[in-house]
Amino acid sequence: MKLEVVRARAERFGGIVEVARPRALLHVDRQMMRELGQPESPLWDSPAEPDAPLVAPTEVHVVLSRRCSAGCRGCYVDATPHGAALSLEEACRILDELAAMGVFHVALGGGEALELDHLFEVAAHARKVGITPNLTTSGLGLTQDLAERSRVFGQINVSVDGVGEAYRRARGFDGFSRAERALRFLRAVKKEVGVNCVVSRTSFDGLSDVARLVRRLRLNELELLRFKPVGRGARVDEELTPDQARRIYPLARRLMLRHRIRVKLDCSFAPMVFWHRPSARAAAFWGVQGCVAGDVLAAVAPEGHLMGCSFAGPPEADARVPGAVRAAWPEGFSSFRGFIRSAPEPCASCEYLRLCRGGCRAVAGAHGEPSAPDPGCPRVQEWKARSPVDGEGRRPAGSFALPVVRG
């Protein structure tokens, strides 16, 4: 067996190579790039800085629209039936620029991407320029015909925040049977089909049922996404309790072992994982990281805004303008990239700082201060409980005690 390199790009540390079977992105050092016959890069002329961002994101979330008729009560993009959308021409031009920068994957979503007439043309264009298009969908309007056309995508995940009645409680309407039907249609035509489950205070106790569904339908992954109080989500009180935050990582391991399925936690769960003190070396090798916005990840909003991630700004450029993404990338995203250098306590003294990066900036921002440590982190909560408060209710410099900002 030989791992065939599909694409490669140079980085300061060496480079990133994409292999197709198994589908993977491998970070390799400069020597390995040379051994693989890759051309010498000027990036290798000076020593690699340890915390320097990548020369381009490896994946970009393209929010094709804020258009969706489902009306989920916690929708983080505040989607409506007539929300803004990128046109086909705009989306294709953005993909052209991302491809020229060396982006490997795009995550196409919304809103509900399947409600856009040109979704499949956008996906085909991504393939044409060498980017793997992946898709998140509610699956509510997915037909057998659309499932057949979905072969163009890499990974497709259907949003299922609970099974049966739990779905209705989480999303505010009864859509489970349609989501399950979509999973069956998709699984009939391809293997790379999984479930996205937003883990909220309400959905937490139903995760085992969702894992069982993933097993029963022979899906390839269950991705657990932390509820973030942004968009319409800012108006519902669904953030995890401190006890749930401590239990999510052990629970994910149990689900994986009991149901023999692949389980992933999104980057915003990193503080909850590192609180359990996993091997830092193993975590670094497997790419386990907290906020990678403006580094591994970027996002494009339907209005064209280039952002660090879909949940948090500020807009760095108008991605619809030719050359704007490439121009903004090297020096932008300071609100995300600067956290390690200026981290307040208790992050500053945390041994996992370089991996965790202070947790989720979007959640911290929703609590009033994007540059503060993630208030959902168990270590942060313990530190706050120990820290003295002065007579005016303030904590020492570098600390925080912030109210949730409800939109």
Binding site: L25, L36, G109, T132, W286
Partner: protein
């Protein structure tokens, strides 16, 4: 002295369809640093392996 061989520094498997980046693959994190080190060597060897005509 033989030159040092190139190394695989990080591996992420699969594709991420989500708005937030793939953060923790619980499946792989269960295995410790020793396994990760061994896999890095294996992946490096498989990358270098000559193509069979």
């Amino acid at each position: 002295m033989p030159s040092r061989k190139g190394r695989v520094l990080r591996a992420t498997f699969g594709c991420n369809p989500n708005s937030s980046s793939l953060g923790v693959d619980v499946t792989f994190l269960l295995f410790g640093a020793t396994f990760a080190g061994a896999l890095a060597l294996l992946l490096g060897a498989l990358l270098r392996r000559p193509r069979v005509p």
